[in-house]
């Protein structure tokens, strides 16, 4: 009887183990993008069919919320198997060794070098740490200026000729386009993407000869004059200056798609085209929008466009080896559809093959983005890049809204960023 019971227990445990192995759940957390959801849900169904017993659980959150959700999940050692964020938010996970290196075999590559060869040179550098590769890019994005031609014409401007090439012209053009009711803006010419200071405003400082961090990585906020000029420009832009825009107005990028005569220009990536197409097909097909390069200051010492950034798929290193392998296999499966991501979602996976494809080259205004990217550099990333971005935000918004002088804001910014660098 005792023997029979032992055999029964053994069989039960074995069946439970086999069952657990056969029923693997891969959790996949990503930001909301309806166009991506549509195709990725299909990839999930196909992958699950090809790999019986594997379930992919895809969870989406707002792009401003996901950083916090993933961080708190990892802090409690409950992170998802797969996630993606912008590199400035992801880098801390690499440095703190929370991730699984790319399993090239599971991803279908003959060697690690083959992965590097498949991608545009340099794009995997931000996810290479101590000789290991920790991510594969979902997208590489840079921002240019989207322009609504109807709004330009309504403001008495010719969009083809009068589009702003410099930041000084941006002020002039925006002033002409703006419709104000006293101090309240009913139509803005252009407005910045306020929370993303590393991507779009640090390059403005660099145009003036400034730097966020010195080349040796030891000194923060290099060239006070350049930073001061930038802060004064932002002060003038805001509600206490020329009243051209403010972080307290609705995000310009969101308004742009609606074509409601309330925004002339916004700053965004190639992916915006996919969103315009799905949000407002009539506007997309009207030909009433165009894309122009990122402006530079008239007396710029360097031509620096908006920085490009990558969203990399990463795998949780705390999950079982089987889960990690399956996660990389699934990521590689999704990324094998680069052309579909480009045509349906308008996001660029920077593989050599895709970047040289006719599909990419024939995308509306892809050349504008490619040319700007060639002149630019990757966004600043480090263990504390998200913290530094918030400090720049504090400085800019304090001069624009809180009545702090650019000199005082710069002093505070310098002290705080230096402290972050020193503390490591």
């Amino acid at each position: 009887m005792k023997k029979l019971f032992t055999i029964f227990l053994f069989v039960l445990l074995l069946s439970m183990t086999v069952n657990a192995a056969a029923n693997m759940e891969i959790t996949f957390w990503t930001h909301e993008d309806p166009n991506r959801t549509e195709i990725e849900n299909r990839y999930i169904a196909e992958f699950e069919q090809a790999n019986p017993g594997v379930t992919i659980k895809r969870v989406t959150s707002g792009s401003g919320k996901i950083q916090e959700l993933i961080l708190t999940a990892f802090a409690a050692n409950q992170g998802p198997d797969i996630f993606n964020m912008s590199i400035e938010d992801e880098y801390a996970y690499i440095v703190n060794e929370r991730l699984s290196p790319v399993d090239f075999e599971a991803a279908g590559y003959p060697s690690l070098q083959a992965i590097y060869d498949a991608y545009v040179p340099g794009v995997l550098d931000p996810v290479t740490y101590k000789g290991k590769l920790y991510g594969l890019p979902l997208e590489l994005t840079n921002w240019c200026i989207y322009l609504n031609k109807k709004v330009f014409r309504d403001g008495g401007l010719d969009p083809e000729k009068d589009y702003p090439k410099t930041w000084e012209e941006m002020v002039e053009v925006s002033d002409k386009i703006a419709i104000r009711e006293g101090e309240i803006l009913n139509r803005r010419g252009f407005d910045f993407r306020y929370p993303y200071y590393l991507v779009s405003t640090v390059p403005m400082v660099e145009q003036l000869g400034g730097k966020l961090i010195s080349d040796d990585g030891k000194t923060a906020i290099v060239n006070d004059e350049a930073w001061l000029k930038f802060l004064k420009f932002m002060q003038e832009w805001g509600p206490n200056g020329k009243i051209l825009g403010s972080p307290t107005y609705t995000n310009a990028r969101k308004l742009f798609n609606k074509d409601n005569n309330d925004i002339g220009m916004c700053l965004t990536g190639l992916y915006q085209q996919g969103r315009i197409r799905s949000d407002n097909p009539d506007f997309y097909n009207s030909g009433d929008w165009m894309v122009v390069p990122f402006p530079i200051f008239e007396n710029a010492v360097k031509d620096v466009p908006a920085a490009y950034y990558g969203h990399y798929y990463m795998v949780n290193g705390q999950k079982s080896e089987e889960n990690q392998k399956m996660a990389w296999k699934f990521i590689a499966y999704m990324l094998s559809h680069g052309e579909e991501y480009l045509t349906k979602v308008n996001i660029v996976q920077p593989t050599v093959k895709l970047m040289e494809s006719e599909t990419y080259k024939s995308m509306p205004y892809s050349k504008v983005f490619t040319d700007d990217m060639a002149k630019g550099h990757v966004v600043y990333y480090g263990e504390n890049s998200a913290e530094i971005q918030s400090l720049i935000r504090e400085a800019v918004e304090s001069v624009m809204l809180a009545g702090v002088s650019p000199e005082d804001a710069l002093k505070t910014l310098k002290r705080k960023v230096q402290e972050v660098l020193d503390e490591g």
Partner: protein
């Protein structure tokens, strides 16, 4: 002797039942309140990064010393004190006035109670989102105020001015909680025996004298309760300030301690320092509560 033993055993029996009833609550508080408090106290003595898997470095009181020298932390103390004083005093005064107003109505008492209380049912996040729309430069806030003040086109910069943004957070909090405290005052007012007012009426007291010499003194326990709850609520304020800064408001003027704790832990990943800040906030709250309790015990009310 046997009588003493039996009463002793009844006492013990009562105590045992007492423990049985209290134990679930004790377990609940131990898990969700006491453990986090002691854990925060312990973590505050370490240099610990949220994502790091390495064992944290013990640094003693360094996090506290850093905070006491940090201008940012003192700004958070300032923002918290300004918000608390600017919100909890009007809350106390107006909820009492509204309660007296509701109690004095012969009709529509229920309607007024529901009307005042309804914002308290909303989550703070929903309330802040509604007010973000109102405070948009093109929103209802500017439209109403410009209509009332006959000042078309003026942007009152609800979120875009360091003074106004502080006022805006106070306004949202006041709107959300005034009804809640009004209801507590209504309960307090209803518990005052009518016979006292009748006796005063016979003695020739008017409504004003009734209020000053009967209502207000007899309402003291309720007033103390409301002042403690409202003050603690104000010290713990977070979601309004958080959502306003997400909506583009400048951080400095409304960087209350809880928001600073959040940024230090979640944005900067410095969980040790954030824990030290939360311990300081806990001590401040404990101190204020103790002071209020102490002052309330001076002359307790009995009818």
């Amino acid at each position: 002797m046997s009588k003493r033993i039996s009463s002793y055993s009844i006492e013990r029996k009562k105590a045992r039942w007492g423990w049985i009833f209290v134990t679930p609550t004790l377990i609940f508080f131990s898990l969700f309140s006491f453990y986090p408090i002691f854990n925060a106290l312990y973590t505050s003595l370490f240099k610990k990064k949220l994502l790091s898997l390495k064992p944290p470095d013990f640094i003693g009181l360094d996090n506290y010393i850093y905070l006491l020298k940090s201008p940012d932390f003192w700004n958070s103390i300032r923002a918290t004190v300004v918000f608390t004083l600017g919100t909890f005093i009007p809350l106390l005064i107006f909820s009492l006035i509204f309660a007296i107003f509701v109690m004095s109505r012969k009709r529509f008492q229920n309607f007024f109670q529901i009307a005042y209380y309804s914002p308290a049912v909303l989550s703070s996040v929903v309330a802040a989102v509604i007010w973000l729309l109102i405070f948009d430069p093109r929103g209802l806030g500017n439209q109403w105020l410009n209509l009332i003040m006959n000042s078309p086109g003026i942007d009152h910069k609800w979120l875009a001015n360091s003074v106004m943004v502080q006022m805006s957070t106070m306004l949202v909090y006041f709107w959300k909680y005034v009804g809640y405290f009004t209801i507590i005052f209504i309960v307090g007012l209803a518990s005052i025996p009518q016979s006292i007012y009748e006796a005063a009426k016979i003695d020739g007291a008017n409504d004003w004298k009734n209020f000053w010499y009967i209502t207000l003194p007899l309402l003291k326990p309720t007033t103390i309760l409301v002042s403690i709850i409202s003050m603690l609520q104000c010290l713990r304020t977070f979601s309004t300030q958080y959502l306003f800064t997400q909506g583009g408001a400048p951080l400095g003027p409304i960087n209350v301690i809880t928001l600073n704790i959040y940024h230090t832990a979640i944005r900067d990943h410095r969980i040790g320092r954030a824990s030290a800040m939360s311990v300081i906030l806990f001590v401040i709250m404990l101190l204020f509560t103790w002071v209020q309790f102490k002052s309330s015990r001076a002359d307790e009310i009995s009818y």
